[in-house]
């Protein structure tokens, strides 16, 4: 298509859509499976926030590292972690990304530059400073990106890390995933500043706020920030305003939300719909292209769930291994 108004090729647009759809289906399916009682532990779903992980990760390769959160499935998928291994991990199977020892909150794949989901809020910020420091020493041009929520933005680890990244001029980006809630608490209550751009300024960091449900807005802002960081321009903060379609974790009654809030959001602020409309109305992709992806992704997730369910469990011996490198 000659007249493509987007800064991404047709293939990249399809790739972006496929990533977002994979995350969406992965999460919607977990919601269903969890309700059946098949899935152990705490599960925090990323559904509704896909455009942010995808818009940012489109700029990264395996040399770039990310530090994720408790709500990490979307980051993992967008960073290229194998969906089958993720699903098996969430089911606690030995075929999982962490051989069943980590679960939803600890999925990691360092070979893909995915340094781990994290059960401790804000813990990824210092870690990613270390990734940035390593990249700087190696001179490999890699960048580090840490994600944290509006709630975690008030953790001392995150705040200290902004100052550290700034004075060391690290190739690190702080992404605030502002979905308005920390569990049941609103960002307005918990965070004493209207814009995270002001918060960043207090640490000498440039900051940008974008609509995190708009893939193209995220992609553009992230691209500029990442390019600058790669070329020695230093750290920055990116605030993405987004929507959490489900509860804080599966089982959350969400009575703190307004009546009809979820329905309205799904209706008006679904990043997948928004993306689909943009690319089809621009005539760059046809609805059929998207439908094909949808069908392929549906099959992928079906297969991931099926094989996760039938995969072998860890054996008792696994309990005692992997404590030390030399254990």
């Amino acid at each position: 298509m000659s007249n493509n108004p987007f800064p991404l090729s047709r293939d990249d647009l399809l790739k972006a859509y496929r990533t977002m759809r994979t995350i969406r289906d992965f999460e919607e399916r977990l919601h269903v499976e969890f309700a059946k009682g098949d899935i152990p532990g705490f599960v925090h779903l990323y559904a509704g926030e896909e455009a942010t992980a995808t818009g940012i990760m489109m700029h990264l390769t395996d040399v770039d590292r990310i530090a994720s959160t408790h709500r990490g499935h979307g980051h993992c998928i967008a960073k290229g972690v194998d969906v089958h291994e993720m699903m098996a991990e969430i089911y606690g199977k030995v075929t999982g990304a962490c051989r069943g020892k980590g679960g939803s909150m600890h999925i990691a794949d360092l070979s893909k530059g995915m340094m781990g989901a994290n059960g401790i809020l804000g813990a990824g910020a210092p870690l990613i400073c270390g990734a940035g420091l390593a990249a700087k020493f190696r001179g490999d041009g890699g960048v580090g990106i840490t994600f944290f929520g509006d709630g975690a933005s008030n953790q001392g680890t995150v705040l200290e890390s902004m100052n550290l990244a700034a004075i060391w001029n690290l190739p690190v980006i702080f992404v605030v995933e502002n979905n308005g809630y920390a569990e049941s608490t609103s960002v307005e209550y918990a965070t004493a500043v209207d814009s995270y751009v002001d918060r960043a300024a207090g640490f000498g960091l440039p900051g940008v706020t974008v609509d995190g449900t708009d893939f193209f807005a995220v992609h553009e802002a992230a691209g500029e920030i990442i390019r600058r960081a790669r070329t020695g321009g230093g750290p920055a903060l990116l605030e993405c305003k987004m929507i959490r379609f489900f509860g804080h974790f599966e089982g959350d009654a969400q009575t703190y939300k307004a009546k009809g809030e979820n329905e309205l959001n799904r209706e008006t602020r679904d990043c997948l719909k928004i993306f689909g409309n943009r690319v089809t109305s621009a005539g760059v992709l046809a609805q059929g292209d998207l439908d094909l992806v949808d069908r392929e992704v549906a099959l992928l997730i079906d297969d991931a769930v099926a094989s996760a369910k039938s995969a072998p469990l860890p054996t008792p011996a696994d309990l005692l291994t992997d404590v030390y490198v030399s254990y």
């Binding site: 152990p40 705490f42 606690g92 020892k101 909150m105 001392g156 049941s184 209550y189």
Partner: protein, 340 residues
């Protein structure tokens, strides 16, 4: 009037009663009310597992939802305590100590001593401990030995609803900083609990069951494993065990433990914490040093392995000390005699 209520309800009741009794009692924590600044209902959560649910309706602004800044709000609770309040701060999972430990280790625990006795810090820090929830390595630890190690802290870990209520009331009235450990897998456990207020003094272990052959010591969840093991041993091996529920780890009731071991000559300690420098090792070492003559066999420690808590249920179930492990340990104390 006693009714059967859950461990969770007992805690809620203790908080309610103390808040009525003493206006200086305030509650701080993440989502302990819930819905702060949100468009939906008030009291939307009552804590991540609903333990404080309903208290907001009764005590309003004396419950304060906090930002996700444990150092700041745990420290604020400590500071308020040093200024005459009696704050009860909820640190959702004790595993989160890592982001706020200084305010406990170097501030709350040390004021009294460091300031020559001139400070009083009546703060209670409530937190969930323990495995079995499929919550993986960062939401399932006991960590009780770390706090027990610290002079100036009192450490409480109830095994049932009755004790939870009485020990929490005592914790709030106590003038020292208290780490109140709630095993998340006991929340639903029910026992008879009087509706009225009562305090269980610290340092008084509970002899749950009397035997003559062996002493089994536990706390929190492991008390139940110990009781099940004792029942099975009585049925199948005619071995009668003393089962001691420590209730408080610091101060600890050495007298009751020593007295029991002096009569049984055999000791098994069951501790869900990791083995090195654990509560189990602490008790075995103290008893051995102070009642060596009474020991008929090598004391046995039944603990979690020296590993983080695994996610996969099949592994996590192996991680937690089992009834089989306890009975096996008791077995070793009886055959060990020959070896000794």
């Amino acid at each position: 009037m006693a009714r059967k209520i859950s461990f969770k309800t007992a805690i809620n009741e203790a908080l309610d009663l103390e808040m009525r009794r003493d206006p200086s009692v305030i509650l701080l924590g993440e989502d302990i009310v819930g819905g702060a600044g949100a468009p939906g209902e008030d009291d939307a959560w009552g804590g991540v597992l609903g333990v404080t649910k309903g208290l907001y309706a009764k005590h309003g602004n004396r419950l304060i939802d906090t930002p996700l800044s444990e150092s700041a709000y745990i420290g604020a609770a400590v500071g308020a305590a040093a200024c005459g309040m009696r704050p009860v701060a909820e640190l959702m999972f004790l595993d989160f100590m890592g982001v706020c430990f200084d305010q406990i280790l170097n501030q709350a625990a040390k004021f009294k001593y460091m300031f020559g006795g001139k400070a009083k810090t009546p703060v209670v820090i409530r937190a969930m401990v323990g495995a079995g929830f499929r919550a993986a390595a960062q939401h399932s630890q006991m960590l009780t030995p770390m706090f027990t190690h610290v002079p100036g802290l009192k450490v409480v870990c109830p095994s049932n609803a009755y004790d939870a209520k009485g020990l929490l009331i005592q914790s709030i009235r106590d003038d020292d900083p208290v780490i109140f450990c709630e095993h998340k897998n006991l929340y639903a456990h029910e026992t008879e609990v009087p509706a009225e207020s009562y305090a269980i003094p610290f340092g008084e272990a509970n002899l749950m069951r009397e035997g003559r052959d062996v002493t089994i010591v536990g706390y929190g969840l492991t008390v139940h494993r110990a009781m099940d093991a004792a029942d099975r041993l009585a049925r199948t091996e005619r071995i009668e065990a003393d089962v001691i529920d420590l209730r408080t780890l610091s101060p600890i009731d050495w007298d009751t433990i020593i007295e029991s071991v002096e009569s049984t000559g055999r000791l098994v300690v069951v501790d869900e914490a990791n083995p090195r420098c654990s509560i189990a090792s602490d008790i075995v070492a103290f008893v051995t040093q102070n009642a060596f003559g009474a020991l008929k066999a090598a004391p046995q420690m039944v603990t979690a392995p020296h590993t983080p808590v695994p996610f996969s249920p099949v592994l996590e179930d192996l991680y937690i000390p089992s009834v089989d492990a306890v009975t096996a340990a008791v077995g070793r104390t009886t055959v060990a005699e020959l070896v000794a």
